[in-house]
Structure formats: C-alpha cells, structure tokens
C-alpha cells in the first residue's frame, strides 16, 4: 500500500468512525457538554465574585482575589486538574463517593473562574464613574447600583472575551480524563482515544476533533457576531434634533407643580 493511502486510512477510515460515532453521540458529547456548561456556570459565578473582590476597597478582599487569579491562571490546566482531582479525592469520597466527575467540574470551574474574573473585572472597570454617580444620585445603594447598572453594562462589554473563555473551557474539558472516568462518564476526547488505542487507527480521534470543531467554530462566529452588534450598538446615528425645543414646551406650563403657592409671579 502506498504511504498516502496509509495516511488516509489512519485518519479517515470511515468504518472506524462509524463504529465510534454512536458512543460519541450518546456518551461523549453529553459529557463534554455537561462538563463545559456546568464549569461555565460555576466558573462565571466564582469569576463574578473574584471580579467584585478584585475592585473592592477592602484589601482583605482584593488581595486574596489577586493571589487566586495569579495561581490559577499561572498553573497549567492539566496540573490544576490533577491537583484538585487527586488532592481532593478523599474529600470527594466523603461527599459523593468514589466519583472523579464532580472534581473534574470543580477543577475546570476554578480554572475558568480565574480567567473569567479578570474578564469581568476589566469590563466592570471600563464603565464610566458617571454611571455609578447617576445611579447613586437616584438613591441606589452601592450594591444596588453595581447590580442594576454597572455590572450589566460591564459584562455586556466583555461578552466576546467571555465566549472565548467558553471555547477554552470546551477544549480543556478533554483533560478531565486524567482523573480516570467511568465508561459512562467519558467525554469526546477520551472515547476517541480509547477507540484509537484499541484499533491502532486514529480516525475515531479525528472524529472527536470534528465534534470539538462543531462546538467551538460556531461559538467563534458567535463572538464575532456579538462583537459586531455591540460595536454597531455604540455608533448609533444621532438624529438631528427633532426636539421641538421651547416651542413644544411653551403653552401651558408643561411641568409638575410641586407647590402651587409660589412666591411672586415672574
């Protein structure tokens, strides 16, 4: 057999792919999605707490947030997953038995939180101080102003970066296999790898790769779309003033009369 067709068969053997496909669809894909989505939710929640702590005026909130972020962004994802998955295994045993899956989610969440926290913090800090002042002047407390006015704007501005983080999370979920998953817990990568190891043919792994692309490429385009929409949202054409000006306001006094017993008429 010539080398080219050997190469072709190593990666594009349709029989191997067909064999792996059902398990990819029924086991691998759901597990990858469960890992990525739950880590995205937990990671975003933790990330928001980190972001708020990171901009706090209290050193005892700011400082731990800083250290956390440095550590979890600085370690290789594989190392963190092993450290959490193996290190916390005895604790996990107490809580949910001999199951590495939740620890995998936890490790992914902790990693994602460090990145997402920085993304959210940058977004929140980009919102003009005037917005906070505007909200406080209406009578909102600092917390209410942050929750209702500042954070929603800040998060909106960094949505593209946040979606990028979800893409990274989908890919990082392939590292959870280190922890030794049950057959039913295997995600896309592990299933592809198992088939490849059993048959010596890489096609199943390539199929897993195609699944990843099917998830991440649309997200990449979603980022671009969101980004474009946000940009367009900002450069709106301001209409020439169809204000009406004073004419619209003249006539009978257009305004509330808080107190009719007013001093001298003008």
């Amino acid at each position: 057999m010539d080398p080219l067709s050997t190469l072709w068969e190593t990666f594009f053997d349709t029989d191997s792919m067909r064999e792996a496909l059902p398990e990819m669809l029924t086991v691998g894909l759901p597990n990858t999605l469960i890992l990525a989505v739950s880590a995205a939710l937990l990671g975003s929640l933790l990330g928001m707490l980190l972001a708020i702590a990171g901009i706090s005026r209290t050193r005892w909130l700011r400082w731990p947030a800083r250290v956390y972020t440095d550590v979890f962004r600085g370690l290789p994802a594989a190392a963190t997953i092993l450290l959490i998955g193996v290190g916390l295994a005895p604790l996990g045993m107490e809580i949910w038995g001999p199951n590495p899956y939740p620890l995998g989610i936890l490790a992914l969440s902790l990693i994602a939180a460090a990145y997402i926290g920085e993304i959210f913090r940058a977004g929140i800090q980009s919102v003009e101080v005037a917005q906070l002042e505007g909200a406080r002047a209406l009578g909102f407390s600092w917390g209410e102003a942050m929750r209702l006015v500042i954070v929603p704007q800040g998060v909106r501005r960094v949505l593209p970066a946040w979606v990028n983080q979800l893409i990274a999370l989908i890919k990082d979920s392939s590292l959870v296999y280190f922890l030794g998953l049950l057959a039913s817990q295997r995600e896309l990568f592990r299933i592809g790898q198992d088939y490849a190891a059993n048959t010596g043919n890489q096609s199943a792994l390539l199929l897993a790769g195609l699944f990843y692309l099917a998830l991440t490429v649309p997200l990449t385009h979603a980022v671009n779309w969101i980004d474009r929409r946000l940009r367009q949202g900002r450069t709106v054409t301001v209409h020439p003033d169809d204000d009406g000006g004073p004419a619209a306001l003249a006539g009978e006094s257009a305004l509330p009369r808080p107190n009719p017993t007013r001093k001298d008429p003008r």
């Binding site: 005037a130 917005q131 002042e133 505007g134 909200a135 406080r136 002047a137 209406l138 009578g139 909102f140 407390s141 209410e144 209702l148 006015v149 929603p152 704007q153 909106r156 949202g233 900002r234 709106v236 301001v238 209409h239 020439p240 003033d241 169809d242 204000d243 009406g244 000006g245 004073p246 619209a248 306001l249 003249a250 006094s253 257009a254 305004l255 509330p256 009369r257 808080p258 107190n259 009719p260 017993t261 007013r262 001093k263 003008r266």
Partner: protein, 248 residues
C-alpha cells in the same frame, strides 16, 4: 399633572462647608441659602468648587465639616440613600443608563426604590415623559436620542421620584447650542412651578431671568450672593466684577 402633584419643596441651607481632597482644598467654608420653592443659580469660574458644592448637598461627596439643612434640619446624619431619593440631580453628561430603554431608565428607581408595581411605574414614567415632550421616545435607547432629548429624559427620571429639591450640574454645558434652549425652557418651567432648585450654570441669561438668587463662587467659597439684578448690575466683589466682565 396628577402623577407628580404630591411633592412639596423644601428650603435648603448650606453652612460653612469645608472639603479637601488631600492638599487640594476644594470647599473653604461655602454657604448657600435657597428659600422654599426658590431657584438659586451658582456661577463662577471653572474649578471654583461649584459642582463639588452641589455634590455635598446630596452627599455624593461627604463634606469634611459644615452642615447641610433641608427645611432647617441637618441631613448629614440621615441615611444617604434615602436622602438622595428626596433630592433629584441632573448631570452635565446626563448619566442615563445606556443599556436600558428610556422608559426603563425612569421606571428602574420607581420599581426598585419606591417599590411601585411594574404597571404603576410604567404609568408614572410615561406621564413624566409626556411632560417633557418625549412620550414617543419611551422605547428608544438613550444613544438614539439627541443630547437635548437625553437631558430631558434625565430630568424626567429625576422628577419621577418626586424630589423635594432639584440639583442641576451644568445641565446644558454638553449640549449643542441649538439644543440648549429646550432644556433651559424646561428648567425655567420647573422653577416657575415652585420646585426648589440649585442650578450650577454658565448660562448667564438663564441666571438673570430665572434665578431668585445668584451665588458667585470662587476658590471654594460663595463670595457674593443676591438677587440677579444686584449681582449682574451692581456687583461688589472685584473678583465677581472681573468674572462678569469676562463672561458677559
């Protein structure tokens, strides 16, 4: 009118207010009196502390010393958030919330702070928008409005909370010249309606025709205050004279 007629104005007293940011003494014993239902215009050169003085009234900035009185009662020990619900404020840059519709900008505080139901809040907000002539813009985002319209929305947003006093911080300074009139007309209307107002402004024409009191500030103190006629026709303090000769 029904939705907004329940407010009662208050008188305002600012007594010997001092404030420093580090070595920068922004307010050095500022005093201001505004009678019940009256309008005071605060004029003066940039950096004289006008905007800072305004912010000590609703305690966006806490003064180092001195007192702020509403109806003769000190408010410095009140809950600041509750105090600010009684004091409306309008900013140079409008400070509308860009991620919400015009209507939502107004209903937000009504729902979350005044605890009105969605329906009540919307009804009140629409009435308030109607009063500033922008009922048709309820569902627009602020960015789709002209500066003049945005400022009128900001005024409507403040008025919807039925404040007892209104503060205006250079409300027309960021507007294109042709949009200034509409906002000033609205403010004049509000003043004529008996709202107690403190207006920091560079619009000398407005100060002259609408204010009951004009206060001239320089270097953190009110150097001279009085009726517009006295301030503009017979200024006493040399610095006020110099200021007027430059702006008029």
């Amino acid at each position: 009118m029904t939705a907004t007629a329940t407010t009662t104005s208050v008188s305002l007293g600012v007594r010997d207010v001092h404030l420093a940011f580090g070595a920068n003494r922004v307010l050095r014993g500022a005093d201001l009196d505004v009678a019940f239902g009256a309008t005071a215009c605060v004029i003066g050169p940039s950096g004289s502390g006008k905007s800072t003085l305004l912010r000590t009234i609703n305690r966006l900035i806490e003064p180092d010393s001195g007192d702020v009185l509403l109806d003769g009662r000190s408010v410095l020990r009140d809950d600041p958030d509750a105090l600010r619900q009684r004091i409306g404020m309008v900013f140079q840059q409008f400070n509308l919330f860009p991620h919400m519709s015009v209507l939502r900008n107004i209903t937000l505080a009504l729902r979350k702070l005044k605890k009105l139901s969605e329906d009540e809040a919307v009804q009140l907000a629409r009435a308030q928008l109607d009063l500033v002539g922008l009922a048709a813009k309820a569902d627009s985002r602020p960015a789709h409005l002209s500066g003049g319209q945005q400022q009128r929305v900001a005024i409507a947003r403040a008025l919807a909370l039925q404040p007892q006093i209104m503060l205006f911080d250079e409300a027309t300074s960021a507007l294109d010249p042709e949009l200034v009139k509409g906002v000033l007309a609205l403010m004049a209307d509000l003043s004529a309606g008996g709202m107690t107002m403190v207006v920091v402004t560079h619009e000398m024409g407005f100060a002259r025709s609408v204010a009951d009191t004009v206060a001239f500030m320089d270097h953190g103190v009110v150097l001279e205050a009085g009726e517009p006629a006295a301030i503009f026709e017979a200024p006493e303090h040399p610095r006020l004279r110099r200021f007027l000769s430059q702006v008029l």
